[in-house]
Structures are given as C-alpha cells and as structure tokens.
C-alpha cells in the first residue's frame, strides 16, 4: 500500500466513525420530531371536537384543525422516509468501517518490498469497492439533505396553518379563548419541530464530503 493509499484508508475509516456518531444524533432528532408530530395529531383531534361544539362560529378553525391532522401524518411519512435513508446510511457507514479495518490489514501486506501480483489485484479491487461505497454514502447524504428540505417545506406549511388557526380562533365568539389557547399550542409545537429540523440542517454530516 502506498503512503497515499494508506492515508486514504485511514481517513475513510475515521471519517466513517465520525459519520456514525452524526447519524446517531440525526436519528435522535428524527425520533423527537416524530414524537412531537404525534402530539399534533392528538391535539388536532381535540381541536376538531372543540370546533364542532363551537358550531358555525368555528367552521374555519375546524377546517384548519383537519389540515393540521393531515400535516402531522404527512410529517410522519416524511420522517419515516428520512428514517429509511438513515438506516441505509448506517448500513453503508458500517460497511466502510469494517472494510477500513480489513483494508488496513491487507494494506500491511504491501508495506515495503515487492508486492505479489495476487496482493496488488486484491488491493486494487478493494480500492474500487472503497470508492463505490464512498459514492453510495455521498448519494445517501444528498438524498437525506433533499428529504430534510422537503420536511422543512412541510413545516413551513404547518406554520401557516397554525397561524391561520390563531386568526380563526378570534372569531370563535364564546369559544374564542379556548380556541386561541389550542391554536397557540399548535404554533408552539410547529416551532419546536422547525427548531429540531433547523438543527438537523446544520448537522456536520451534511457538510462532510
């Protein structure tokens, strides 16, 4: 193994180790978002019930609550897509880590002295596999980033819904106070999700090559 190749092998393995930690953190955030979106679903059900009781005064609020339920389901679907990509990334990173150890050991065969053609054949094939895995991980990284942007767009929409619900709540006559409280909670939760996604966006995982 040439010094350059040895450096590549070492760098690939330690980058993969760092990636694994980053992926773990991303996964924790995703779990948080999914948990919160469940909360929205339950809140939306309660809000629909409340709107029904308020009758014609809260028709608009009822429609928005329904939309928020749909939003929470879409957000969960979106997160499960992200989860699939996270799972594939963990798989890819694990392969890179395992191969990294094997590449290091095989690389030692080429230290000093002439390299058997048999050894150089294996090293070449493994270098090819190494770059194929690196490429696959780069693809997953891109897909994850895109899926995250989609989730962000969705949350923007959720934010608009929550804010509109706030406005609609004001027309709720005797129910106005309780509708306002519910819609503020919606808004708070959507903001919480936005915060979680925002920190995901800044994960160094998306910055590494």
């Amino acid at each position: 193994m040439s010094t350059a190749t040895a450096l590549t092998v070492g760098a690939t393995a330690s980058a993969a180790g760092a990636d694994l930690l980053r992926i773990v953190r991303i996964n924790e955030q995703i779990k948080r978002v999914v948990g919160v979106s469940f909360k929205i679903n339950i809140m939306a059900l309660n809000a629909i019930f409340l709107a029904k009781r308020a009758g014609t005064a809260a028709l608009g609020f009822g429609v928005l609550s329904n939309e928020l339920r749909v939003f929470s389901q879409e957000l969960r679907d979106c997160m499960s897509g992200l989860n699939g990509l996270i799972h594939a990334s963990v798989n890819e990173v694990s392969i890179i880590l395992r191969n990294g150890r094997q590449d290091r050991l095989l690389g030692e065969l080429a230290k000093g002295g002439a390299v058997l053609p048999l050894v150089s054949g294996v090293l070449e094939r493994r270098a090819g596999e190494r770059s194929a895995h690196a490429k696959r991980l780069a693809d997953l990284r891109r897909q994850l980033k895109r899926a995250l942007e989609d989730a962000f767009q969705l949350v923007e929409l959720g934010g608009v819904l929550a804010k509109s619900a706030k406005i609609e709540a004001a027309y709720g006559q005797s129910f106005a106070a309780s509708l306002t409280q519910v819609s503020s909670e919606f808004d708070g939760i959507v903001e919480e999700i936005r915060g979680a996604l925002e920190s995901l966006r800044h994960s160094p995982f998306f910055a590494s090559k």
Binding site: Q102, L105, L106, E108, L109, L118, V122, R126
Partner: protein, 245 residues
C-alpha cells in the same frame, strides 16, 4: 513477520509451522499457524486472528502460493483461531472452511458465505488435501464444546489446537519442547482453566495414546516430539481440569 519452519516433509507432502513474530504486540496471544501441503494444494490449519493476518500471509506466501489454498481447518470458534477468515477469502473466495457443525453458523460473523463452511459432525470426518486424507479427531470440551484436532497418519502428526498449549515467557521461544519439565510448568495453568471436562480429557488421552504420533502440534507454544508426546498425554491425563473459583 512470522517465521516459517518445515516440521515434516516427504516429497511434496509437507507441514509448515508459521511461528513467532517479534513484531507482534504483547496484548495479542501468540499463536502457531500450520500449513499442510500435498501436490499443489494446501490447507491452512487454524489460520489465526485478523490482527496477525499480514504476518502470517507474508510468511506463508514466501513458501506457498496463497491462491492455491483449497481450504482451512478451524479447530474451534475462537478469534485467535480463525478471525482472519474474511481476509484469506479475499485471495480465494472459493476456499472452504472446515469447522464443527456447532460453529458453522457462528463463524460467518468473521466472514464467508453459506458456501464457505463445511460442518464437521461430532464424530469427525476425513478432510482431503489433494489426494492426502486427513482426519478430524473429536476433542469436544477441550476447550470448546465443538472442538476438533487434525491427524495426518502419514506424517504421524497431530495438530492438537489448544491442547498442549503453553504460554511461554519471553526467551523461551524454541519451536520444539526440549526440556519437558521446564516446559510443562507454562502449560499447567492454561490447561487447568481452559479445559472444561475431566471426562472429555480422559477420553481424548485414551484416543491419543492409541494413535501413532511423532509430532504433537499445539496452537500455542512449542511442539512435542518423540517421547515428549507420550509424556504430555500422561501428564494431561493426571491433571485435574475444569475448575475456576
């Protein structure tokens, strides 16, 4: 790098011991790997752990074309025996690994696929190397619950895995046992603790004393030759084993 020593040769029938690596870190247990060749085929016997693979491979390839290895024999499932499996397969993916049926579902965690493993039944089996037939001899519970030794009746050589193993101090690094009493002191604690069953040990001693053995080759330490083989079997027969605290 490890050293390769020919311990038996008759024409193209050869046993090589791959031993003693001065560069090996101390935290890794020292192991002996063996290669038996016949014609242009070769079988690796306890090919060793992944960390020492470069040293074993380099020593072996100085004497034998690694792509001509037809298989490997793993006495049991321990990492020092065969965690290098995946790396050897890189050079010949068609290589077979003979191991107790008990471990044929465990070793794929080290590497290989469904086709790699040949499960040895409890009573043992014949393992071919070219036209030479080797015999997998049962040594269960010594120390692994699914454990085999490998006998070459032509060479009168028994590869005995962890049986006969000695953890030798620095400086005592001869390939062969030359002072049995001095040597066996370094084998006692190992056998008492690692070997799990007095009954299994008694049966093994009975079986081994009925075999023609000129060379008793363990996976750790030095090789017993001539009268030291019988000395070892008698010593082992009398040693109480299978006790910890």
């Amino acid at each position: 790098m490890k050293t390769t020593k020919t311990i038996f040769q008759d024409g193209d029938h050869r046993w090589l011991a791959i031993v003693r690596d001065p560069d090996k870190p101390n935290y890794l247990i020292d192991t002996n790997e063996y290669l038996v060749t016949h014609g242009d085929r070769g079988l690796l016997v306890d090919p060793g752990g992944a960390e020492i693979f470069p040293a074993v491979f380099s020593a072996l390839s100085a004497e034998f074309d690694p792509s001509a290895l037809s298989g490997m024999f793993a006495s049991h499932q321990d990492p020092d025996c065969c965690s290098s499996l995946a790396l050897w397969l890189e050079f010949n993916p068609a290589m077979r690994c003979y191991v107790s049926w008990m471990w044929s579902g465990f070793l794929p965690h080290f590497g290989g696929s469904g086709e790699t493993f040949v499960a040895i039944p409890d009573e043992g089996m014949e393992i071919p190397v070219d036209t030479l037939m080797l015999q997998a001899i049962p040594a269960h519970y010594l120390h692994s619950s699914g454990n085999f030794h490998l006998y070459d009746k032509v060479a009168r050589l028994l590869f005995s895995g962890d049986v006969g193993a000695a953890l030798l101090p620095p400086g005592m690094d001869g390939l062969y046992v030359n002072n049995f009493d001095a040597h066996i002191r370094h084998a006692e604690a190992f056998h008492k603790r690692w070997m799990g069953s007095n009954e299994a040990k008694r049966r093994w001693c009975e079986r081994a004393s009925g075999m023609a053995i000129d060379l008793l080759c363990p996976q750790h330490g030095a090789i017993y030759t001539g009268p030291d083989v019988e000395r070892f079997i008698n010593w082992f027969d009398e040693l109480p084993v299978g006790l910890a605290v």
